[in-house]
């Protein structure tokens, strides 16, 4: 058992390191790469406040996707909102004491888990049913979907069928903060779930999951439409 605990402890330290350094590296690159010209997709907000609102609508409601394709929007939004609820629900394993709002969100996290899997199913089916989407799909797109679906279903299975000892899980993760390793319950379903989650964290900075930080740096969405009023100059393009 010690081996399992040690392996998973190492795995999560490694995954966290890869995730954080990978993302920081990418984000620093995005920040440092200049946008030499004003290219917001117009009509665009003419104030900074307007840009914040535009970005918020994009991130929270997937506004552009809604205009583009209702099916992709409904499945995509279902998946992402479900994932958010699931993540919030899972925070209770990582914080002590558990914040009040996280307590409130607990039951919704379960619905979130279901919504997540259904949404993923819808998105995945488009990769087979719509010829255009089939054409642009590469093996990695299927693999990421498989990974997320498996994470969702193993999680739900533990909730509804193959229970595990969540108190022990919490003490395992709490122990990681202080390098005080606590035993992990040796349930196969849990170990699979955690392995898949660690894999997700590791591939995040090296895959299309970069769309999450990427959107905040998208010049067509984050620029203010004021080129005539303010001269936009970047160092290399003087």
């Amino acid at each position: 058992m010690a081996f399992l605990t040690n392996f998973y402890a190492f795995l999560f330290y490694f995954a966290a390191l890869v995730l954080v350094t990978g993302l920081v590296f990418k984000i620093v690159r995005y920040v440092r790469t200049p946008a030499p010209l004003k290219i917001p997709t117009t009509p665009a907000p003419v104030t900074g406040r307007g840009v914040v609102l535009r970005m918020a609508r994009e991130v929270v409601l997937f506004e552009s996707l809604f205009r583009a394709n209702k099916w992709t929007w409904i499945f995509g939004w279902m998946f992402h909102f479900g994932l958010l609820l699931v993540t919030l629900r899972h925070l209770r394993y990582f914080i002590e004491p558990v914040w009040f709002p996280i307590g409130l969100v607990q039951p919704f996290g379960i619905y979130g888990g279901m919504a997540m899997v259904v949404g993923l199913g819808g998105l995945w089916s488009r990769r087979f049913l719509v010829d255009r989407v089939r054409y642009i799909t590469s093996p990695s797109d299927h693999l990421i979907l498989a990974l997320l679906v498996l994470i969702g279903t193993t999680g739900l299975l533990m909730k509804f069928a193959l229970h595990t000892d969540i108190v022990e899980i919490k003490s395992f993760f709490q122990g990681l903060y202080t390098y005080n390793l606590q035993p992990l319950p040796p349930d196969p379903m849990l170990l699979l779930h955690l392995l898949l989650v660690a894999t997700l964290l590791i591939v995040f900075p090296y895959s299309k999951l970069l769309h999450a930080p990427g959107i905040f740096f998208s010049p067509t969405r984050n620029q203010i439409d004021n080129p005539r009023e303010v001269r936009h100059i970047t160092p290399w393009a003087k």
Binding site: R29, Y30, T33, P34, A35, P36, L37, K38, I39, T41, T42, P43, A44, P45, V46, E58, F62, S64, L65, R67, A68, N69, T72, G76, L123, R126, V130, D131, R132, V133, Y135, I136, T137, S138, P139, S140, D141, L143, Y206, S207, K208, L210, H211, G214, I215, F217, S218, P219, T220, R221, D225, P227, R228, E229, V230, R231, H232, I233, W236, A237
Partner: protein, 509 residues
């Protein structure tokens, strides 16, 4: 009249999304530039020896220079939102004309040379070596993008294929693979001053001819000055306006508006072109060099304001980039934005009640309006977001009694490109131009059938040229596309007299 060597698509009431047909447009590619057109722009004359290494270096350089490219290479999740948005895909069914399909031509090379996953597991993530076949695909399909930005409206991350096709064209230029049409034209701008290669004396002749025509038509002396030092306004307009129908009717209209405004204005033989093809080829240096002519002309002619004529991509460069490329404009009158669009200028006069219209002059026409892609999605007019949609429509309503919009899904920021933008307005791409125009012509045909529309007004030289050429393939008439300022000019009630006195020192009576 129009004879096609390809099958012209049938018009449909609504543009249907075609089935994916791989390779449907693989044969389409424009003439390759010759050394004599490459060198004036600072590019190698022909494909260089170690082109692959050089191209990858260039890609690395651009990834460091353009945040758009850097982020867009990473961010795509292949959701498919853009797949049915490009007019070239809708007209051809070729999956490499889906925006994501086009982007992936570059993304697969990016992944191979610039990402860990692509270096380790190329097959898994769709990464590919930059082979000659890939380069040929680039040349073909990055010249099937009109940089209209319709895909960027619908992408959840705002990925703009225009940014990617511009970068691709710059990479190709840097290894000596240029497109003849664009590069020949830019060289012409450097040599002569405008895209059509019209020298100063020819412009002068044309403008004098216009003055006589307008006088014969209206009995009023409307001036069309060139190189007039000390004029208030420098008009920068696409050279097509000096040259051919229906463009020239727009220029006549601008002159009438200036006449009624009582301002002095001039065009410049040095900056006798609004369009900036430097953008099409993604070359910042060339775009800047082309823009500088406008600054030079404004200084030399001591003008106080700069106004742009009807031109789509030109207005994008003017509105969005000119301040960056050729500013600051602190020597001009600070009360006016720099530059202004002729539609903004005319609209302001209407707001101030300075123009009188006889709308019945346009009663022989029923109008619709084509939002030019780069005006719609890459610029603005007036103070409010969306002014680029409202102001041109306000001008049409002020000068015409009969106006109907096309289907909502095909106008404003969802407008379809004419099919000839972005450096594709060349006869060697005729099949692409005709097929790419289908979504727009479908919507136009719809309002023709349902509302009795007779004419479509446009505010872009490329749109006007493209439709004049392409409409006949679909059984419509070439003269159904007209300049917006033709409508304004035809309906405007001219005030006679005053300016005969004002300008009597001029030479041409």
């Amino acid at each position: 009249m129009a004879k096609a060597t390809f099958v012209v698509p049938d018009l449909t009431q609504y543009t249907e999304v075609p089935a994916v047909t791989p390779g449907a447009m693989a044969h389409s590619s424009p003439f390759v530039s010759k050394p004599e057109f490459q060198e004036p722009l600072g590019f190698p004359g022909e494909l260089v020896d170690d082109w692959q290494a050089k191209a990858i270096d260039k890609m690395g350089e651009l990834l460091g220079k353009y945040r758009s490219l850097r982020v867009y290479m990473d961010a795509c999740v292949k959701c498919g939102a853009c797949t049915d948005k490009c007019h070239y895909f809708l007209g051809t069914g070729d999956p490499k004309n889906m925006p994501v399909g086009r982007q992936d031509l570059m993304r697969k090379v990016y992944r191979r040379y610039f990402t860990l996953s692509g270096k380790l597991f190329p097959k898994l993530v769709g990464a590919e070596d930059f082979t000659k076949e890939v380069l040929d695909d680039w040349y073909s399909y990055f010249h099937q993008c009109s940089q209209c930005r319709r895909c960027s409206v619908f992408c959840p991350y705002g990925i703009d294929t225009a940014e990617i096709s511009m970068a691709a064209r710059e990479i190709m230029d840097s290894i000596g693979v240029g497109q003849k049409y664009c590069n020949e034209i830019i060289a012409k701008v450097y040599r002569v001053g405008n895209n059509l290669g019209l020298p100063g004396p020819a412009l002068k002749d044309t403008l004098e001819g216009l003055e006589e025509d307008v006088y014969d038509d209206t009995g009023v002396r409307v001036r069309y000055p060139i190189d007039q030092e000390g004029a208030d306004i420098l008009l920068v307009t696409p050279s097509a306006d000096f040259f051919a129908e229906p463009h020239v009717d727009g220029l006549i209209g601008y002159g009438k508006v200036f006449h009624e405004a009582g301002v002095s204005w001039t065009v410049s033989s040095h900056a006798s072109e609004a369009a900036n093809f430097g953008m099409f080829i993604g070359s910042y240096d060339n775009m800047k060099r082309v823009s500088q002519r406008i600054r030079e002309a404004a200084i030399k002619l001591k003008v106080k304001r700069i106004v742009f004529g009807e031109c789509g991509h030109a207005w994008r460069v003017a509105y969005s980039f000119l301040n960056t490329l050729a500013g600051p404009w602190d020597f001009l009158d600070p009360r006016y934005p720099v530059p202004q669009h002729i539609c903004e200028f005319t609209y302001e006069l209407i707001q101030q009640g300075k123009l009188t219209f006889d709308k019945s002059a346009n009663d022989d026409k029923v109008l619709t309006f084509h939002d030019s892609c780069n005006v719609a999605r890459a610029s603005r007019m007036g103070d409010m977001p969306g002014g680029q949609f409202e102001i041109p429509r306000a001008l049409i309503r002020a000068s015409c009694n009969h106006f109907y919009d096309m289907d909502e899904d095909t106008i404003r920021d969802r407008t379809f490109c004419c099919g000839g933008g972005g450096g594709l307005l060349t006869d060697d791409l005729m099949e692409l131009r005709v097929k790419g125009a289908k979504p727009r012509v479908d919507a136009l045909n719809n309002v023709i059938q349902e509302k009795g529309v007779t004419h479509m007004a446009a505010i872009c030289a490329i749109c006007k040229t493209q439709f004049s050429k392409v409409l006949p393939y679909y059984g419509l008439e070439m003269d159904q596309v007209i300049s917006l300022h033709q409508l304004v000019g035809d309906a405007i009630v001219l005030t006679p007299g005053s300016d005969d006195e004002a300008d009597d020192e001029d030479d041409d009576d």
